[in-house]
């Protein structure tokens, strides 16, 4: 079946511009995570969605970052007024809600470069 997809694959933007990154999780997966992979910080958690519950935004680095998940499926990560330190690979992962130990399946990521 189809895996997690992300778009765009690569994004180059100018400092100060807003960007939107999209994630399509695996059909039927109710939990969705965003992570950021950067040279300086490694892989870090950003935000978590589970069904209709309020998202866990504890990993968002600043208020310039926001995310939403519409209809319990597609998610969009928005970065406003981008800064050079936002340059990174943004990874999305989804998982079924199961009793124990569900595995997170990752998309191919969006590489963001802020000039």
């Amino acid at each position: 079946g189809a895996g997690v997809s992300q778009s765009p694959s690569n994004k180059v933007t100018e400092k100060g511009k807003d960007v939107e990154l999209r994630c399509d999780p695996i059909s039927g997966h109710t939990a969705l995570y965003w992570y950021r992979q950067s040279l300086g910080q490694g892989l870090e958690f950003l935000i978590y969605f589970q069904g209709n519950s309020a998202p866990d935004k504890s990993g968002l680095p600043s208020d310039r970052f926001s995310a939403e998940r519409t209809g319990g499926s597609v998610s969009t990560l928005t970065i406003q007024r981008t800064q050079q330190e936002d340059s990174a690979v943004y990874l999305c992962a989804s998982t079924r809600t199961s009793a124990r130990g569900e595995t997170q399946y990752f998309g191919p990521g969006t590489r963001l470069l802020v000039l």
Partner: protein, 118 residues
Amino acid sequence: AQTVTQSQPEMSVQEAETVTLSCTYDTSESDYYLFWYKQPPSRQMILVIRQEAYKQQNATENRFSVNFQKAAKSFSLKISDSQLGDAAMYFCAYRSPRGSGNTGKLIFGQGTTLQVKP
């Protein structure tokens, strides 16, 4: 807070040989999950193997196996009969069970780049 440490930034192995990647973690939890993910240049994170902390038996997936030492908080990955396609960055990751305020987010180590020499 939980932490994961991979002390080997780079490793190399000859094709068909065996290599072991190290991972240690710190936690006060007794129930958790450990994972090894592979990330080739395509960026796609691929699950290699997983281990439930409550299981004493070490997980095995074909040529991949782990040495899980719960008391020592160690979780190493052994790759047997290494193949050129195994070349990638490998990440060790920790996850608490979801519930009781835990999101089930993955906490990653810094990664180990594995080179496979023909």
